[in-house]
Symmetry: C2
Subunit: 326 residues, 2 copies
């Protein structure tokens, strides 16, 4: 059995929020034909997508073709809309979550679902967690920053405390990187360089900012293999050892509930994750159905020599089930 | 033989630049006793250092004690002073370079030297390269950004072209990271998280910004193992393959003259560098004599199992000699 933890959904139709604050900033679908649609954001085509984004049957067909037994469905991160009025983002999120929950209900053996929350209002986001679970979703996906604010900002702590209390897993997905003025090259670098940098920063600061010290049971999955985090963590330890004990314990002692997908597009990076964190903290994730995705899911994992069966089974399914709390 | 490529010098005395533009921003030494000094920047103690920073005999004693045959000397990056008037930074750099050159002349079998340049004025910096070589220094150390500007900004190209023409190696050292408002935790994170992020960005954008396309023979060494670069490069390739061919060739085809030190404080990270780039692109670097350094140099490399003698010899000395052009 292979589970793909990193797959995104965009509903075929989005609610008309043009009359709400923000107007055309709300994502809207502009269909090209029955199978393709432009996602319009701020009057511009943000991305052209196919019905793989919303059609369960198209997804199941692809899954059969690529040997994927189950997918974890999560919103395309640009749907998060943290910039909106919290109440509006809540309404928008409930629509998205309802669409994902409906896909899960229709194919409960093939799909698990994660929702989204209006994290710009941490208390509102915390209160929405229990209803999200009641809808049949297992956890939530959030961005690596919220309108440029660090996830380790103390204002987000009530949200993480509630997620820990409910035992709901959090998928932390790179979004809207900072420092783009230094990304010399095409706009695409915001994704190619910016996303790994975002993941690195989110993982490192959840530790350094004391979030994990406060919420040791919180299960968090980092997209894109956690970016460069596996290479940065030993430096955090060395700084703690030699310069300043900025936490009660060594930084690397806080990663027991950190999980990482395999989305490096490269076998050696996956090997490093396994070596540093163990196979039961690593799981296949492909970014299906977007163009940059790994296809078939698990392709680069399969290139790794020397893994035993139990490690492969963990990365294919067991780690993901543990992360999801199943 | 073991060469430590990543060691820094601070002269015992610095020239009095208080009367120049910038005033107290110029680093100044405030001695505590014969063996210790505060480095004052902007009227504050930036760092307290020992005579290991300037005393050849102290360094040679440490090298004997730790099995280091040679050190590559480079300025402490905070001496770069890119914020200054270019002519002033040139004068300051010439003083620093002179001090390092004197140490090399006194112990030519034990020290190699790298200088610094006023990179805020790329033409002035380019013109200074030949004189630096004439002083007996082999190349230069520069920051990962220049007053917040990307090294891949086209304005720096004349400098890289001149360095390539002269065959002078460039050590790119992390400095003054951006995005620090998201470094939730102690000030020290600017070093612990910010430095690896800086190295990642510098290495990735020298490729994406076309610098290496223009200067394929340029030899560049990245500090701190290049940060997360080894984990980001395959994503650059995947974006190029699937989304936009933003360079004539695959991004990973531009790394033939990239070098990395081993300064991860961790064996698996070093293993990843060797696997991705080969032992002849990796060399021991310790950040001597600063508190966070790896001691003894090569400690984590020695923990790596399965390296053959030729790989170890390359990482201990051969890669560094190749980088230096010797």
């Amino acid at each position: 059995m292979l589970i793909d933890v990193h797959t995104h959904v965009v509903p075929e139709k989005l609610p008309d929020f043009a009359g709400r604050a923000g107007g055309s900033r709300w994502p809207a679908m502009d269909p090209i034909d029955a199978c393709n649609s432009r996602i319009m954001v701020g009057g511009k085509n943000f991305r052209t997508v196919t019905d793989q984004c919303w059609s369960a049957s198209r997804r199941l067909e692809d899954m059969r073709g690529e040997g994927v037994e189950r997918q974890v469905l999560s919103p395309m991160p640009n749907l998060f809309s943290y910039w909106g009025e919290p109440g509006d983002t809540l309404d928008f999120s409930r629509f998205i979550n309802g669409e994902i929950a409906a896909m899960v209900r229709a194919e409960p053996e093939r799909f698990y679902g994660l929702g989204q929350v209006p994290l710009q209002d941490p208390d509102l986001a915390a209160r929405e967690l229990a209803p999200i679970r009641q809808m049949g979703l297992l956890g939530v996906e959030i961005g690596t920053n919220v309108n440029g604010d660090s996830l380790a900002d103390p204002k987000f702590l009530p949200f993480f405390i509630e997620a820990e209390k409910l035992g709901m897993p959090i998928f932390i997905h790179a979004q809207h990187p900072g420092g783009t003025d230094r990304f010399t090259g095409p706009r695409l670098l915001e994704n190619l360089i910016g996303f790994p940098q975002e993941n690195t920063l989110a993982a490192a600061t959840l530790i350094s900012g004391g979030v994990i010290e406060r919420c040791p049971g919180l299960r968090v999955l980092f997209s894109h293999g956690g970016g460069g985090f596996a290479l940065v963590l030993p430096r955090l330890d060395q700084g703690w050892r030699t310069m300043e004990q900025f936490l009660p314990r060594l930084p690397s002692s806080y990663v027991d509930n950190f999980y990482f997908d395999t989305l490096f597009f490269d076998a050696p990076g996956i090997g490093l994750l396994i070596e540093k964190f163990g196979a039961r903290r690593v799981m296949v994730g492909s970014d299906y159905p977007f163009v940059i995705r790994e296809g078939p899911p698990g392709k680069h994992l399969a290139e790794l020599a020397g893994l035993d069966d139990s490690a492969i089974q963990a990365i294919h399914a067991g780690s993901c089930l543990e992360f999801l709390g199943l």
